[in-house]
Every structure is written in structure tokens, then in C-alpha cells.
């Protein structure tokens, strides 16, 4: 009974010991905007705001939990998680459930999971661990092995087909390799090779993927089919103007012209109602988030932690840029949600696992350095 207050204080301090408040505040701000937008997008029909708030609560708990795991512990998850993810992807390839022409899900009887989601974390974790392990003896062959570690899951996911997730997973892995010091001449060579391979890649693409790229170049060729999403989203953004139509006043949103409006196309809803001003604010918040992540990566004490932090941070960027780019019509439509904004529990859990990792890296750095 002595010093109850002190005990509580110490307990509370311990609870929040691994929370990085700048990062938390930035994500909370983006989520607040996201929650309001989900409300606007679903107010006429499914009312998803409370459900999304619940998702956010769960995701925050997971973040808290992950942030408490020290980086060494995280490192020990690298191989098991990667192998698990890979096995599940193979299982999807073999026994997956087809939904809308894409095999992305694996049935567990009581529920179904999307293994590619695991890879979004497992991939940078694995590669960061790999480069960390061979830090002292890094040779060209290590980059080749890393490329293979990246290519197999990427190929499996792209084959599902799920180009959006493949890009995110591939991006996260590539950032690790890039930050680990992939020689510039290889990077230049890759870019040149990619340019040369583009026609080949075109030949390998699925029809719907080709169509998306074609309709991006000229959406009006298919105004009621593939071009419809882009056209309607672009109209929503453009008609929002400098200051937006006002919260809950977006006609494109509320008259159901925007497809997937609470998930992948939520940015169109936000942009229509808040205009250029709102877009600027949102891009600013993402910049803060990425900036904070980069600060954490730059200050990280080990190769593993800085590569992981850098890759996760740049992963957030990939998410945000691809999503806003596709909704505003400068990138092809791929299934990438807007981080912390789009409705959906799975994506939130993955994102907050990433945030948790960043927090863990940052709050454990002194312990490592000693």
C-alpha cells in the first residue's frame, strides 16, 4: 500500500515506454481523417465507421504489442515468418479460392486468410535479416540470393493475380536491397533492362491488367467498362475544386458514382469533399509520417533495424503514392488501399505491425547501443 500513485505511475510509464508519440500522433491524425471519410462514404448504406473504429482499436493493440518486442526478437521471426508466408502462397497457388477471377484467399474452414498480406511484413524482415547476417562479408552473390528471395513470393502473388500486393511486397523488398547498397550500375542496368523487357512483360500480362494500362492512357475508350472507375474518380477530384464541396456534400460520392468508395477509392471521396486544401493536408501528413520513419531508420543502431525501418517507411510511401496516383489517374488501377484511410481490418493490422516495428526499433536503440 505504499506509494500506490508511484506504482501506477511506473506501471503507466512502462505501458507507454515503447510508444513513439510523434509517430502515434501522425497516424492518429491520418486515421481521424480516414474515419470521417469512411463515415461519409458509407453513411448512405452500410455505416462502416464504427466497425472501422473497432478495426483501428485492434490494430493499435497489435502495434502496442509489436512495439514491445525488441529488434533481436523481431530478427528471430524473420525466417519462420518468411517460410510460413511462402508456404501459404504456394498453398494458395494450389488450393486457393477463386474470387472474382483471382486466387488470393486460403480457406481455413472457419475463416479465410490472404497470405500475401503476411509477405508485406515478412519480406522486408527476411531481407533485412539476410543483409544484417552477411553485413561483414557482403558480396555480389548476396544480392543475387536476395533478389531470388524477393522474386519467388513476388511471382506467386503476381500470378494470383494481385498486382497491387505484388508491387507492395516487391517494393518493400527492393527498398531493403537498395538501402543495403545495391551498386548504382546494377540499378541503372535494371532500369535499362526493365525498359527493354517492357514489351515482354506486356505479353505476359493478364488481359485485365493490359486493359487497365490502356484505359489509363485514354480512359474514354471504355467509359462504361474499365475506364469508368478512373473517369468517375477523376470527376470527383476535379469537381472538388480548391476547397471541396464540404463534408457529406460530395455528389459523386453520395449518388454512388464512385466505385469502391470506402476502400480503394476512398481518396476520391475525401478529395471531392475537401478539395485541394484537404489533399495538401493529407499529403503533408503522409510526408510527416515518412519523415518520422526515416528519422527512425537513420538513427537505428544496427543494419537490420535501419534496413527494416527504411523499407517499412518507404513501403508506406509506396502505398500512399500508388493509391493516390491511381485514383487521380496517373497510375494504372491496381488494388492498393490508401494507408490508414481505406476501410478494412487486414490492411490496418499490417500497417500497424509496421508502425509497431518502427516504434520498437526506435525505443530499443539505446538498449542495443548500451
Amino acid at each position: 500500500m505504499i506509494d500506490v500513485v508511484g506504482t501506477f505511475k511506473r506501471g503507466a510509464r512502462e505501458l507507454i515506454a515503447h510508444i513513439d508519440f510523434p509517430l502515434l500522433l501522425i497516424t492518429l491524425a491520418i486515421m481521424a481523417v480516414g474515419l470521417a471519410t469512411v463515415n461519409s462514404a458509407t453513411i448512405d448504406s452500410s455505416h462502416r465507421m464504427l466497425s472501422q473504429a473497432g478495426n483501428m482499436g485492434i490494430a493499435l493493440v497489435i502495434m502496442w504489442f509489436v512495439s514491445r518486442l525488441p529488434p533481436q526478437k523481431l530478427m528471430s521471426f524473420a525466417i519462420p515468418l518468411y517460410v510460413l508466408g511462402l508456404l501459404l502462397l504456394v498453398a494458395v497457388f494450389l488450393f486457393g479460392i477463386k474470387v472474382n477471377g483471382a486466387k488470393r484467399w486460403l480457406s481455413l474452414g472457419f475463416t479465410r486468410i490472404q497470405p500475401s498480406e503476411i509477405m508485406k511484413i515478412a519480406m522486408p524482415l527476411m531481407l533485412a535479416w539476410y543483409f544484417h547476417k552477411y553485413e561483414a562479408t557482403l558480396r555480389a552473390r548476396h544480392f543475387i540470393v536476395a533478389a531470388l528471395l524477393l522474386a519467388v513470393p513476388f511471382g506467386l502473388i503476381a500470378k494470383q493475380p494481385d498486382l497491387g500486393t505484388a508491387l507492395l511486397v516487391g517494393g518493400a523488398g527492393f527498398f531493403v536491397i537498395f538501402l543495403a547498397g545495391l551498386p548504382w550500375k546494377v540499378i541503372v542496368g535494371l532500369i535499362a533492362a526493365a525498359g527493354a523487357a517492357a514489351p515482354l512483360l506486356w505479353g505476359m500480362m493478364h488481359d485485365y491488367q493490359r486493359k487497365r494500362i490502356l484505359t489509363l492512357i485514354d480512359p474514354t475508350t471504355d467509359p462504361l467498362g474499365a475506364g469508368y472507375h478512373i473517369i468517375q474518380a477523376t470527376i470527383a477530384i476535379g469537381s472538388g475544386g480548391p476547397f471541396g464541396k464540404g463534408y457529406l456534400n460530395g455528389t459523386q460520392t453520395h449518388l454512388e458514382f464512385i466505385p469502391e468508395k470506402h476502400t480503394d477509392f476512398i481518396f476520391a471521396v475525401y478529395s471531392e469533399e475537401w478539395g485541394l486544401l484537404g489533399n495538401g493536408l493529407l499529403v503533408f501528413l503522409y510526408t510527416l509520417l515518412i519523415g518520422r520513419g526515416m528519422m527512425i531508420a537513420a538513427a537505428a543502431p544496427t543494419k537490420f533495424s535501419r534496413l527494416l525501418a527504411g523499407a517499412i517507411t518507404l513501403g508506406f510511401f509506396t502505398y500512399a503514392f500508388i493509391n493516390m496516383g491511381m485514383v487521380s489517374g496517373i497510375l494504372p488501377v491496381v488494388g492498393v488501399p490508401l494507408p490508414f484511410m481505406s476501410y478494412g481490418g487486414t490492411a490496418l493490422v499490417t500497417l500497424f505491425t509496421g508502425i509497431g516495428i518502427l516504434m520498437s526499433i526506435h525505443t530499443h536503440r539505446m538498449l542495443v547501443k548500451k
Binding site: 470527376i235 476535379g238 449518388l255 458514382f257 537513420a298
Partner: protein, 636 residues
């Protein structure tokens, strides 16, 4: 790659690469912001409009078509609202099954199915198409109770055009029908596309076509907010339609009806004009047809019957039939002679019963001739020899010049059809006409011998009944000419403002009053002591008239015996008249195809018309006025 691992340089390289990544991030976000500025500032107006277009649908509201009434207010064309059962094919599964199921509830005839199929072929995108028109209240109730079973089927109130008098005056009133590609072109040329959104009927002939853009009115709009599925959510704005203007005719429907009855089953035409205004009192072409058949889309059977019938009911003989005027031409010839100084009234000829020209003998229809014939007698007794000589003396171009001034051989410009191309010009023979009419040089030359029979209204002469009526009206009105017209005034449906159509004469021939008087006295003589005496026996008013008989078949010198000739080859009977002779109120021309002598079959019709118009006297056997009154069952 360095051979030695150096943690510090490793960290520096990492931070350098992170810095490059940060720059790429800023660059990429900069591109995004640039894109947003482009969409939301530069292109904002464009996208705002696009969003509005998305959101708002303009639903046209078709105006009420103007009503057509006769000079006394009798309704000739009107609209009635009726319930129709309509199917929107895009919202219905199997059309056959739906119609079969509907047929169990509501009487659907094979002809309804046929019409539906036809309309389905013509229909634009997602229109609803009527399967049954004119539902009874009971049928509406039966369907309403079962509505849930029939998605895409609904009861609608539509306006239908109706011609209450049916066949009476059909050639004047015309009819409306569904818009075809040709009509669309007309609408485009008239720059009326916007105003015809939602309209699916248009005037096809007669007054309905001529005054289409007066009758149609201005289409209204309802601005409706719609969602992406096209469902109307709420009305934002409504611009009501403006009803079409009403037409008040100069036509007398009762007179029209009596005249049509007078023709019986004979083919022919009568045009009666008020000489003081040019207003047409009756415009008859028999046989006629029921314009109501066309409103909903005429059935192929009906169309075939009308179109292929040997008596050609669809042809408007009043403006499209060109007939030799026969002896009705003589008063105009006489007037021409007086005006041009070729004859004096008292100048007499001696008629031997023929006129020799070259080696050809032109015969009078009275053997031995009429003896001494002056102008009066030449008209009263219809002496051919007098006019053979006169024509020869005048020459063809003088005749053509004067007859042309009376409007013969020219389109009158009567307000029927889309433009005056629907009206026939007839033939006003002249040297110039022949040159243009024929191609071979030997045919192009006018021979003086051809002028002779022109004098008695034969030869190349061919005029429409409306031209003859107009020429008669001009003479009756002392040379002051009006354009014949059917619409007295156009009445604005909203303001009630009345706009007269043809208030001014188009020409004054400046005829010498004493000359006109000579002709008048002679034409009065026709009905008192000449060829029209029998038809006008006991008339309490004084009439001026002239009989005529036009050859259809050249007899080449043989005697004409009606009974010996097939009916289609018998002569046409003609009669022109105006009355009262001293102060004319009506001028007319009658033509009975294959009617034989004008005095026998054409003049009695003229008598009936004048008796009714001047005295209100009904011919024996005519229906009483109240019996013929319009049924008003569907009037709203």
C-alpha cells in the same frame, strides 16, 4: 563493394541512400500535388460541369399539341389523355412471357402485339413501349393489383391525337404519325432538335404538317437528380412546357361534311373560298380516309388498303389533281378578251357549228351551231366556236399571260403540307412551257392549231380544283386576289393572342369593273337561262356559274355516249360558281371525276353547298346537326 567492412562508411552510405529515397518521395508527392492542382484548379470548371451532368438528368416534358377548330369552334383535332400499358424492354425478362402473362389479366389482341413488335423495332434505347392503349378504369385497377408480378411494366397516362370528325376534312386537316428518319431531317433543318426531345409524333400531311412548329409547342424540362444507376432521387427544377398554338380555321366543318356527303361514292373535289379573304370554307377530296388510323401507327393492312385502292383515297385531289377545266375556262377567256381588247361584249360571231383551222375542223357540241353568238350568249350556252375563234385571235402567249395572272398553272401556296411542293402546279400551256416540257425539237414547237382547243379548256390545259376556285374567287372579287388559306388565325395557347394568317391580298389585277360586270351578268345567265338552269331552279339568291365537261378520252369525231364508255374514261364534270352574284360571299369549283356533263353532276353539288352556306338549308337526307355533333366521351 569494398573489400573491408567499415561500419561508419556503411552507415553513411545508408543515410545517403535514405536521403535519395527521401528526395524521390518528395518528388513523387510533388507530382501528385501537381496533378491535384491540374484537376482541382486548372480543370475544375470542366470537372464541375461533368459532375453536374452526372448528377442531373433532364427529362423532357412534351407539350400539348395545339387544337384545331373550324370557323365556328367545332373541334377537328384535339388531344385526349388515356391510360396505356407500357413495357420497358430493358427492365423486363422475356417479352413474350410477360405479354402472355399480361394477356391473362387484360385483353391484348393480336393487333396490339403486332403494333408492339413494330414499335419495338423503331424504339430508341430505353423507351417504354405501349402494349395496350386506352385502358379502361377497370383494366387499370386489375393491373395495379398485380403490378408486383411485372417488373418493367407500368400504366402511363399519354396524350393521344384524335380527329373527332373522322374522315371528314381529312385531306385538309391531315394527320400526325410517328417520327421517321425523314422527319428527323426536317426537324434538324428547322433547328428544332432540342424542342423535339421526348416528342415521338409529328405532322405528316395537311395542316398538321404545315403548321407543325406552331402546333407543337415548347418542350418543358424537369431537372432530376439521379444516382449512378439512373434512378431519379428528387426533382430540382421544373420548366413547364408551353402548349402548342391552336389553329382556328376558315373551314366550315358542317359545310365540309354536307359537301362530302353530296359526293356520295363519286370521286372528285370541291374547293369553296370566301372571295373577300381567300379563306377556304370547304376543301373536299373524295374518297377520303380516317386520319385516326395513323395516330398510333397505321397497321400494314390498313395502309395497304388505303394506298392501293384504285380510287386513291390518299391523294388530295383538291391540290394534287390536275384536270382540264373544260368550259369553265370560257368566262376567264372572255374576260381576257375584254381586258386585252380582243372582243367587245356585243361583238357577235356567226356560228356554223364548227371552226376550220388549216385542214382540221373543230366542232361545236351543238350540231348546226348557235347562230349569232355574242359574248353573253357564248357563256350562257357554252358556245365552243366562239372560243375557238377567240383563242386563235388571242394567241397562246396572251392566253397564258392572263390565265397566269389569275393563278392558274401555279401553286396557290395554300397552307397544306410541309411546303408548297406538296401542291401540283397543273399545266398552263404556252410556247415557253412546251419548250421546257418536251425534249425533241419538233415537239418543242408550238403549233397555232394547238391554241384552238385551249380556248375551250381542253388541250394541254390542266388545273387543280383549288386553282379554279381561286380564279373564280378573283373574278368574284373584282380582281383582288388572296392566297387561299385554311387557317384564319393562330391562337396563342397561353396569352390568347390571335395572329391572322393571310390578312392582306397578294395581288390586284386591276380589272376594269365594266368588264368584270359583263362576265358576272353572263355567268348569272348561265344559271338562269343557260346550262345551269336546272340545278339552280328556284334559288332565292342570285348566282354566277359556269358548267364544264372535260374530256378524258378523245373521241376522234365519234359521238359521245356515256353508257358506251367505261366509267374511268367518262368525261369529268366541272362547275364553277360564286354567290350572291352582286356581293359574293362564296366562290367555288366542283369537279366530279367521270361525272359526265357538269350541269348534271357537278352543278347540283354546288347548289347544295350554296344553299347551306347562304341559307343554312340542309339537303334532303342530311343528318341533323346535333346528331353529327362530336362525341365527347374522352374529353378531359
Amino acid at each position: 563493394m569494398s573489400d573491408f567492412h567499415n561500419p561508419d562508411s556503411d552507415l553513411d552510405r545508408f543515410r545517403f541512400r535514405l536521403g535519395i529515397a527521401a528526395l524521390l518521395v518528395l518528388l513523387a508527392f510533388g507530382v501528385l500535388i501537381g496533378r491535384f492542382v491540374w484537376l482541382q484548379v486548372v480543370q475544375h470548371d470542366f470537372y464541375r460541369t461533368r459532375a453536374e451532368d452526372n448528377r442531373i438528368a433532364l427529362i423532357p416534358i412534351v407539350p400539348n399539341r395545339g387544337v384545331i377548330t373550324d370557323r365556328n369552334g367545332v373541334i377537328l383535332a384535339r388531344n385526349y389523355s388515356a391510360f396505356t400499358l407500357e413495357i420497358t424492354p430493358s427492365q423486363t425478362g422475356s417479352l413474350e412471357e410477360t405479354i402472355d402473362a399480361l394477356a391473362e389479366l387484360i385483353d391484348i389482341q393480336p393487333k396490339d402485339r403486332k403494333r408492339f413488335k413494330r414499335l419495338l423495332d423503331e424504339a430508341k434505347n430505353f423507351e417504354s413501349i405501349p402494349i395496350r392503349t386506352r385502358l379502361s378504369d377497370a383494366e387499370v385497377a386489375i393491373f395495379a393489383a398485380q403490378r408486383y408480378r411485372f417488373p418493367g411494366v407500368e400504366v402511363k397516362a399519354r396524350l393521344f391525337r384524335q380527329y373527332p370528325l373522322g374522315a371528314i376534312g381529312a385531306h385538309a386537316i391531315g394527320y400526325i404519325g410517328r417520327i421517321t428518319d425523314r422527319d428527323l431531317k426536317w426537324i434538324e433543318e428547322s433547328e428544332q432538335q432540342a424542342n423535339y426531345k421526348g416528342t415521338d409524333h409529328i405532322g405528316k400531311t395537311g395542316l398538321e404538317q404545315h403548321y407543325e412548329f406552331e402546333l407543337h409547342g415548347e418542350t418543358g424540362y424537369e431537372e432530376v437528380e439521379i444516382d449512378s444507376g439512373g434512378r431519379a432521387l428528387r426533382s430540382l427544377k421544373r420548366i413547364p412546357p408551353v402548349s402548342g398554338n391552336n389553329l382556328q380555321l376558315t373551314l366550315d366543318a358542317r359545310l365540309q361534311e354536307i359537301t362530302e356527303q353530296a359526293f356520295g361514292d363519286r370521286k372528285g373535289s370541291l374547293v369553296a373560298i370566301d372571295p373577300n379573304t381567300g379563306g377556304i370554307l370547304a376543301l373536299v377530296s373524295t374518297p377520303t380516309y380516317d386520319p385516326n388510323l395513323f395516330v398510333d401507327g397505321i397497321t400494314p393492312d390498313n395502309w395497304k388498303e388505303l394506298n392501293e385502292h384504285p380510287s386513291k383515297p390518299m391523294v388530295n385531289r383538291a391540290i394534287n389533281g390536275a384536270y382540264p377545266p373544260g368550259s369553265t375556262f370560257k368566262p376567264f377567256m372572255a374576260l381576257a378578251a375584254l381586258e386585252m381588247g380582243k372582243r367587245t361584249p356585243n361583238q357577235a360571231i356567226s356560228d356554223p357549228g364548227y371552226f376550220n383551222f388549216g385542214n382540221h375542223q373543230f366542232r361545236d357540241d351543238k350540231k348546226g351551231g348557235h347562230g349569232s353568238v355574242d359574248m353573253y350568249k357564248s357563256i350562257v350556252h357554252s358556245c365552243d366556236t366562239y372560243y375557238y375563234m377567240l383563242a386563235n385571235d388571242m394567241g397562246i402567249d396572251n392566253i397564258a399571260k392572263f390565265m397566269g395572272s389569275l393563278g392558274l398553272g401555279q401553286r396557290t401556296g395554300v397552307d397544306l403540307g410541309k411546303d408548297d411542293s406538296g401542291e401540283s402546279k397543273g399545266v398552263l400551256p404556252s410556247q415557253e412551257w412546251k419548250k421546257q416540257r418536251f425534249k425533241k425539237p419538233e415537239q418543242q414547237k408550238w403549233y397555232a392549231g394547238e391554241t384552238i382547243s385551249i380556248g375551250i379548256g381542253q388541250g394541254y390545259n390542266a388545273y387543280t380544283p383549288i386553282q379554279l376556285a381561286q380564279a373564280t374567287a378573283v373574278v368574284a372579287n373584282n380582281g383582288v386576289m388572296f392566297r387561299p388559306h385554311l387557317v384564319n388565325q393562330i391562337v396563342d395557347a397561353k396569352t390568347g393572342e390571335k395572329r391572322p394568317v393571310e390578312p392582306q391580298p397578294i395581288r390586284d389585277l386591276k380589272l376594269k369593273p365594266q368588264n368584270v360586270d359583263v362576265i358576272r351578268r353572263a355567268m348569272v345567265g348561265v344559271n338562269k337561262e343557260g346550262t345551269g338552269t336546272r340545278a339552280f331552279a328556284g334559288a332565292p339568291y342570285e348566282t354566277a356559274g359556269k358548267t364544264g365537261t372535260a374530256q378524258v378520252y378523245s373521241l376522234k369525231g365519234a359521238d359521245y355516249k356515256a353508257s358506251a364508255i367505261k366509267k374511268e374514261l367518262r368525261d369529268h364534270a366541272l362547275f364553277i360558281a360564286y354567290a350572291p352574284a352582286d356581293k359574293p360571299k362564296i366562290a367555288l369549283a366542283v369537279l366530279v371525276e367521270n361525272g359526265g356533263f357538269g350541269a348534271q353532276s357537278a352543278a347540283p353539288i354546288a347548289r347544295m353547298v350554296l344553299d347551306y352556306y347562304l341559307l343554312g338549308k340542309l339537303p334532303a337526307g342530311a343528318a341533323r346537326e346535333d346528331d353529327a355533333a362530336v362525341e365527347d366521351d374522352n374529353e378531359e
